[in-house]
């Protein structure tokens, strides 16, 4: 694979910290076991997962994780099962207590909150959507959607109206009086989505929400999330084990293995410049032409390209540019604003597309 030779200009593109992040996570640890807090800071903390378990019986869930999520961003956490991604999302709202580290939501420290403040945060600021929906089978759809509002003590007519709005928003109009077990899996997850939205939270967290669904339904639901994101513009943290889903939804992707961060980056960074063999292995099956932008395939501008050659923006997806490049005889210009940053020709494009078909 020759793509490895291309170094992205962004390098490790994750900003170490940003101004006013929606979510700020710093040095987060989770070790399972009776004496977990005694381990951090000692040499044992540096042992591998397996060694630590053999020696002490403790299991590392999350090891020293830090990242920021920008307001309005869709932030995807991706990893295989056992990588710690589901633990991570639970640590964020302390459904599991972290062993060490801080989590801040819009500047408010979630770690260290007392119980009532934590309840308040969960009731108003964060909502979650779960893989297995977690609906209450003894309540109608509309009552499931309004459950969070009920819990925080809102009046009946108010929450009914709000719940009905959400039911309409996720496209379940007419089903509000059904019980969950009368609905299909996809519809049940729409109820879960509506319930999460009903609280009007500052941030939405998704724990593998579509893994239990059929592929077609999954695609519908992904589009639904994209649509909702466009409509309501919430910050989202999205957990998945499906790279395609991550690439499709994520503004940025965090890849985890054995409880540690392997890489954080935009989709094209992850595919174009995998941090290590592990990520490369992952991304090897991805149709690169669908993800990579022109800046990943262009060559330096040596000045031989005529100025009348088509100019393409450097962040255009290869697939979208392919037709123009292939139709044009000779190389095209790649521009960042007015500046020409490089050139591409048929061969550059085909290298990406053909490499895929070789698989």
């Amino acid at each position: 694979m020759t793509t490895t030779a291309i170094t992205p200009e962004g390098g490790q593109a994750s900003p170490a910290s940003m101004e006013n992040p929606a979510l700020h996570v710093d040095g987060l640890w989770k070790i399972f076991g009776p004496r977990a807090d005694k381990i951090i800071g000692t040499e044992q903390a540096n042992l591998s997962r397996k060694e630590l378990q053999e020696k002490t019986g403790h299991v590392v869930g999350i090891r020293d994780v830090s990242f920021d999520v920008a307001p309005g961003e869709v932030f995807v956490v991706m990893g295989l099962s056992g990588s710690g991604k589901s633990t991570l999302v639970r640590l964020l709202t302390r459904l599991i207590e972290p062993t060490a580290g801080t989590v801040e939501l819009y500047g408010e420290k979630i770690t260290g909150m007392d119980d009532s403040a934590l309840l308040e945060t969960r009731r108003r600021k964060v909502s979650m959507v779960f893989q297995h929906f977690g609906l209450l089978p003894h309540r109608k759809v509309v009552d499931n959607v309004g459950f969070g509002l009920e819990v925080r003590g809102e009046g009946k007519s108010q929450r009914r109206n709000r719940a009905q709005e959400m039911v309409d928003l996720v496209g379940l109009s007419g089903y509000e009086n059904n019980f969950p077990d009368q609905l299909s899996g996809g519809m049940q997850q729409r109820v879960g989505l509506a319930r999460a939205l009903a609280a009007d939270p500052e941030i939405l967290m998704f724990d593998e929400p579509f893994s239990a669904l059929d592929p077609l339904i999954r695609r519908d639901m992904q589009n639904e999330v994209i649509r909702l994101h466009e409509e309501v513009g919430k910050t989202m943290v999205f957990i998945t084990h499906d790279l395609a889903e991550a690439l499709k939804l994520g503004d940025r992707i965090l890849i985890m293995r054995d409880g540690e961060i392997v890489q954080i980056g935009t989709p094209d960074e992850v595919v174009g410049a995998p941090a290590d063999e592990y990520v490369r292995d992952f991304t090897s099956e991805v149709p690169k032409s669908h993800v990579l932008t022109l800046k990943w395939v262009m060559r330096p501008d040596t000045g031989e390209v005529p100025a009348d050659a088509p100019a393409l923006p450097h962040d255009q997806i290869v697939r979208d540019a392919a037709r123009i490049v292939l139709d044009h005889d000779g190389p095209c210009r790649v521009v960042d604003g007015d500046k020409v940053v490089g050139v591409v020709d048929d061969e550059d494009i085909l290298r990406v597309v053909v490499a895929e078909e070789a698989h």
């Binding site: 003894h138 309540r139 009552d143 009920e150 009946k156």
Partner: protein, 328 residues
């Protein structure tokens, strides 16, 4: 809108409320119509109230209890109940005030000491007139075929006949309900009999064993007792052990004589005795024979009559005896 539980709760409350309402409405309608209040007894001027007669687990006892109970109910206007208890529990019940009387007591010197002599919560109400006999019996066919079996000295000669799968190479002596006081193990040992005591478990077990022994002509030697309705169905034959003399059973481990004859008696709770209920007199005066009791017990056990019907039948047929108990 707390559904779920609340829904269940409202439902329950509604059920209770509506049932309650209904009852109240109906109760208001009074009790005229076809049902008249039971006007107590006809003769006695004194109010009888409750009479609680303990019922011990053998049919002869049931006969005593229901004849007395029937009379108390119909002649004295008592509200009679029959708590089913074993003997020891009946005594304790009299002491604690939940039982008024026991109408057939077989000895129990230890309980007499505890409740009558020490605690003084129970009072002896005189003999029932019945004579209790405990002993070893064989089915009629055996007595016919082996006439000398009725003497204990010959029992070892026949031990082989009584061998069963339960008795481990020796002859089997079948014992009864666990509540029966028995000296059988000591007797077997002290009389040097080649037998083993096998516990049967109940009156029913004994009777069933005698029935099938007689029917199939199989040998059987078992603990049994009179008065007992089963004698009206089958004449079991008593095996004579060395004659009972006063004190020969003083040491339980050294018993070598037959069981003593029992003077069956009645007991009443001290509280009941002091209550002045007319039923106290009835219980104290009640007295009849083994044969009388066997008749009533047979009505119940063999003829399948209800105890009350059986009592009524006997009372109707024996007006003189009854009169003596009720006379004032």
């Amino acid at each position: 809108m707390a559904r779920g539980l609340t829904r269940g709760r409202t439902r329950l409350v509604a059920i209770v409320a509506s049932v309650g309402l209904g009852l109240a409405a109906v109760a208001g309608c009074g009790s005229g119509g076809g049902i008249k209040d039971a006007s107590g007894g006809s003769s006695s001027g004194k109010d009888c109230g409750d009479l609680r007669i303990a019922v011990n687990p053998w049919t002869g006892y049931v006969a005593n209890a229901h004849v007395i109970g029937y009379l108390a109910k119909t002649k004295l206007g008592c509200n009679v109940t029959y708590p089913d208890v074993k003997e020891e529990v009946g005594w304790a019940g009299m002491a604690s005030g939940s039982i008024d009387t026991i109408v057939e007591n077989w000895g129990h010197p230890d309980l007499v000491k505890k409740y009558i002599d020490e605690q003084k919560s129970v009072v002896d109400a005189g003999p029932t007139g019945g004579k209790g006999i405990i002993g070893w019996y064989v089915p009629p066919w055996m007595a016919q075929k082996y006439p000398d079996i009725t003497d204990w000295k010959n029992l070892n000669k026949y031990a082989g006949l009584f061998k069963t799968s339960e008795s481990g190479g020796k002859g089997q002596l079948l014992d009864g309900d666990p509540s029966y006081v028995t000296n059988d193990e000591a007797l077997v040992k002290n009389l040097k009999l080649n037998y083993k005591v096998v516990v049967g478990g109940s009156e029913a077990g004994l009777i069933q064993s005698f029935k099938s022994a007689e029917k199939n002509k199989t040998p059987l030697l078992a603990y049994f007792y009179e008065p007992q309705w089963f004698f009206s169905e089958m004449k079991l034959v008593h095996v004579n052990l060395p004659t009972y003399k006063d004190g020969c059973d003083a040491d339980a481990a050294k018993v070598n004589c037959d069981y003593p004859p029992y003077e069956l008696n009645k007991l009443i709770a001290k509280k009941f005795d002091d209550s002045g209920s007319p039923a106290v007199d009835l219980v104290k005066k009640f007295s009849w024979s083994n044969d009388d009791q066997n008749v009533v017990a047979k009505y119940i056990a063999a003829d399948g009559m209800s105890p009350d019907d059986a009592a009524k039948k006997w009372v109707d047929a024996n007006p003189d005896k009854v009169k003596a108990w009720l006379g004032s």
